[in-house]
């Protein structure tokens, strides 16, 4: 039990369960099939975006260009299908390739220059976004194949949308990556302590580039899933991703200095943010409050993290020897 309490996802899970029960007691509409369907859609999309940021947080960096990559891939994906009448599969593959390339550029420049990823991805954010606007001239693409529309809006059974399949697979793969593979463990080791991981032969170049490539791929998938959902490719896809992409991992106990992320807790963070956004709608509270609420959630999560670290430091300091 005490081992469970130490896990980041456990406390969050409790908050989710009790919060949901509480909300549905006041507003039974919260657990109506339609509402659950909408909830799952929003969780699905943000889950991929959050994972895309989380892997960069794991190595102690930030990726500000997550949304810009997602947007660029989204309009490339739709553009290829509309303008060049490309079929779905090759368009998806090219979309993934663009995400991979964007991630590679971020990682390569960061590791080769030694400049912080914050600065590099701030620059590439504008480059990717600029390419997006240059290609689209700020006009959306509307011609989307029926299969894509279907995937984004149909239900498997009950209120469960097809759209959840990919994000769930991604979450499982991410958990395996971060907990059961050398690559994932080396990323966390690198995020914990760059010097000592280099000393035992972990290549910084490899770790940083892999993390950014995976981040780029996930952002690309996120962008294409949004296209499925919206049934069109607009140039502003991804514009609002930045804040929630940090919120979910941080609420899930991630430390921005690196070396600590929790995949399950991040997923719970996404669900929590989505539930809160929706509860505010159900209670007819002005949607602008969602942003304010999100801000406070991040502050709260950061305070809790800081408090834990403080406790940990003090314990090791006072009882360092006896």
């Amino acid at each position: 039990m005490s081992a469970l309490l130490k896990k980041d996802w456990f406390g969050l899970g409790l908050v989710l369960i009790f919060g949901s029960i509480l909300i549905s007691l006041f507003k039974p509409a919260f657990i109506s099939p339609f509402n659950l369907y909408v909830l799952m859609l929003s969780v699905s999309l943000m889950l991929v975006v959050a994972m895309s940021q989380m892997i960069i947080i794991a190595i102690g960096q930030m990726n500000l260009s997550v949304g810009a990559i997602g947007g660029l891939v989204a309009i490339s994906f739709t553009g290829l299908m509309e303008v060049y009448s490309m079929s779905i599969l090759p368009a998806v593959l090219i979309g993934l390739l663009i995400g991979l390339a964007c991630g590679f550029i971020n990682g390569y420049i960061t590791v080769k220059t030694g400049i912080s990823a914050f600065i590099i991805t701030l620059a590439t954010l504008y480059i990717f976004k600029g390419m997006n606007l240059g290609i689209t001239e700020a006009q959306p693409f509307y011609e989307i194949p029926e299969a894509v529309k279907f995937f984004g809006n149909a239900k498997i059974f009950g209120p469960i949308p097809y759209l959840v399949i990919i994000p769930i697979i991604i979450t499982v793969l991410m958990w395996i990556l971060m907990n059961r593979t050398s690559l994932g463990r080396y990323m966390l080791a690198y995020g914990n302590n760059v010097q000592s991981s280099e000393l035992i032969g972990i290549s910084s170049t490899k770790i940083v580039i892999y993390a950014h490539v995976i981040s780029g791929l996930l952002a690309a998938i996120g962008g294409m899933l949004v296209v499925c959902r919206l049934q069109l490719g607009t140039p502003n896809i991804g514009d609002s991703w930045l804040l929630p992409s940090f919120a979910a991992p941080v609420i899930g106990g991630a430390i921005l200095a690196g070396g600590k992320v929790d995949v399950i807790a991040t997923a719970f963070g996404v669900i929590l943010v989505s539930i809160i956004s929706q509860a505010l709608v159900i209670f007819k509270i002005d949607p602008f409050f969602v942003q304010i609420f999100l801000g406070f959630m991040i502050l709260l999560a950061v305070f809790i993290n800081r408090y834990r670290e403080y406790r940990e430091e003090r314990r090791t300091k006072v009882f360092s020897d006896e």
Binding site: A189, N192, D321, E322
Partner: protein
């Protein structure tokens, strides 16, 4: 075929403007513990960095098992069997002990995924060899500093290292942990075919466990692979500093019936101090002795307002005071604090020497002039920096580029310049060479003769007995003894240890 596992012949290493090593030799015998000694700046660190592949020498050759080698990175040296044991720095703190030990070669199952049962089992082997009773699933950050260090050694063994370099391994260990570490090192040398290079400023330790000694002075060998049995403390010190050691003793007569300058009455704190009573006279050096973890530094921090005092009073000149912060202590009550952890608390590493040394005088000078310029700060600070022989190319040098000893000197210099009435000094000479140590001792005594009252925390018993006028012993966050110092080492140390082990 020689019986040396590692040989460095005629090594020269140049840095811009400095010859760090000049034809230095170092030979490590198989299965021996070899002390590498020298003052700060004598070239020890440079030699170690050449052995571990951080630097390459300009001249000279390195042989490992009679084969000439040249390492281009620390990782290469490690793969060749050479590991540096730091105090905790090489572990991933949020990973388990087992995962840390196996990190370079994590065992996988059929699916290619990490098998944590095997990780625990394999790593347990190495912990068992060291007779370490640690569960491999423990997270490193939950361990004590001493255990972390032992895990570092276990990690080096798991990497099949045949040469271990231990750099100041005991500087934050209690006497008991030090004893355990030494027993372990001796066993490793005897049973595991390991050779050890031991770097320390504590000569007692060198005599206790080392077989041979190499001393560097100004980048040259002052002696090379000398049998420890041929040396004594005086000879060794002379080799290191080039002259005889001066033993400094404080010769003062404090009138203990005089009024208290600072008086702590029945202090209980948030950190667990129980009923602390303690007083300080004008011009007195009051020593606080105790093992690491006795709560000495923590007490000072509570007094300075960094942690909470739950009950009790602090009197300054018989008037009750409430100190809110170290800044408050300095500006309102002229109480200064020289921290033990100079990296974290004492200095702003990214700033230059002048602004660090001058930081404490700023607020005083500002009142008079309402603005500051460098030359005013310079005039205040310069005499102390000179007196301490801080080796810096200029006052504009960034502090983080100086050696550890020089950083310590600057953190002391800034307090000397500030003109405080009461000074808390915490472990002033950890990691400092003998020459600087005696300068610091002279300064502390001189300061007290001029009327500054000092509370001195040190775990170095000889230092305590040569400096303090009165010694308070602490244990488990309580005061367990008070002795007036008669500067007789035998008598005082047995009386203090008696207080601790009662």
């Amino acid at each position: 075929m020689s019986d040396y596992i590692l040989e460095l012949n005629n090594i020269t290493k140049n840095f811009p403007g400095v010859k760090a090593l000049d034809n230095a030799n170092f030979r490590l015998k198989k299965k021996s513990i070899h002390a590498l000694l020298g003052e700060n700046g004598a070239g020890k660190s440079t030699l170690i960095k050449i052995i571990t592949g951080v630097y390459n020498q300009n001249e000279g050759k390195l042989f490992l098992n009679n084969q000439e080698k040249s390492f281009s990175s620390p990782n290469e040296a490690m793969n060749a069997g050479i590991s540096v044991v730091h105090q905790e720095r090489n572990l991933i703190r949020r990973f388990s002990v087992g995962e840390n030990l196996m990190l370079t070669n994590l065992p996988k199952n059929n699916l290619g995924l990490i098998d944590y049962n095997t990780v625990a089992k394999e790593s347990k082997k190495w912990l068992d060899i060291m007779e370490l009773d640690i569960d491999p699933n423990t997270i490193v950050s939950d361990l004590t500093v001493a255990k972390m260090q032992l895990c570092e050694i276990a990690k080096a063994l798991s990497l099949e290292s045949k040469i271990l370099l231990l750099d100041e391994p005991t500087s934050s260990l209690s006497p008991q942990d030090t004893k355990n570490l030494f027993a372990l090192l001796k066993r490793l040398v005897a049973e595991q075919d390991v050779s050890i290079v031991f770097v320390s400023h504590k000569l007692e330790e060198v005599f206790e466990i080392c077989d041979e000694v190499t001393v560097l002075r100004d980048g040259k060998n002052a002696c090379e692979s000398e049998q420890i049995t041929n040396l004594d403390r005086q000879k060794l010190v002379k080799l290191m500093i080039g002259r005889d050691e001066q033993i400094i003793k404080s010769k003062k007569n404090i009138d203990f019936t005089e009024e208290n300058l600072l008086d702590l009455q029945s202090i209980n704190t948030d950190l667990g101090h129980k009923n602390i009573n303690l007083n300080l006279k004008k011009g007195e050096i009051l020593g606080l002795y105790g093992l690491v973890g006795a709560g000495r530094t923590e007490l000072i921090k509570c007094v300075l307002g960094l942690d909470k005092i739950n009950s009790g009073q602090i009197l300054l000149n018989n008037k009750e005071i409430k100190i809110k912060s170290p800044k408050d202590a300095l500006e309102k009550y002229k109480i200064g604090y020289i921290s033990e952890d100079r990296k974290k608390e004492g200095l702003i590493l990214m700033h230059d020497v002048l602004s660090n040394a001058g930081i404490t005088v700023w607020s005083n000078l500002k009142k008079i002039l309402s603005f500051l310029n460098d030359s005013i700060v310079y005039n205040k600070v310069d005499p102390y920096v000179k007196q301490l022989e801080v080796k810096t190319p200029s006052y504009q040098q960034i502090v983080s580029n100086l050696s550890g000893g020089n950083q310590q000197k600057i953190s002391v210099a800034k307090w000397l310049a500030s003109g405080t009435d009461i000074l808390f000094i915490d472990e002033p000479t950890v990691g400092i060479d003998i020459k600087t140590k005696s300068y610091l001792h002279e300064l502390i005594i001189e300061l007290s003769l001029k009327g500054t009252s000092i509370i001195l925390i040190t775990s170095d018993m000889p230092e305590m007995i040569s400096l303090a006028d009165r010694i308070i012993t602490m244990k488990d966050f309580k005061v367990v003894g008070e002795t007036i110092n008669n500067h007789n080492y035998e008598e005082m140390s047995s009386s203090i240890m008696g207080n601790i082990h009662e």
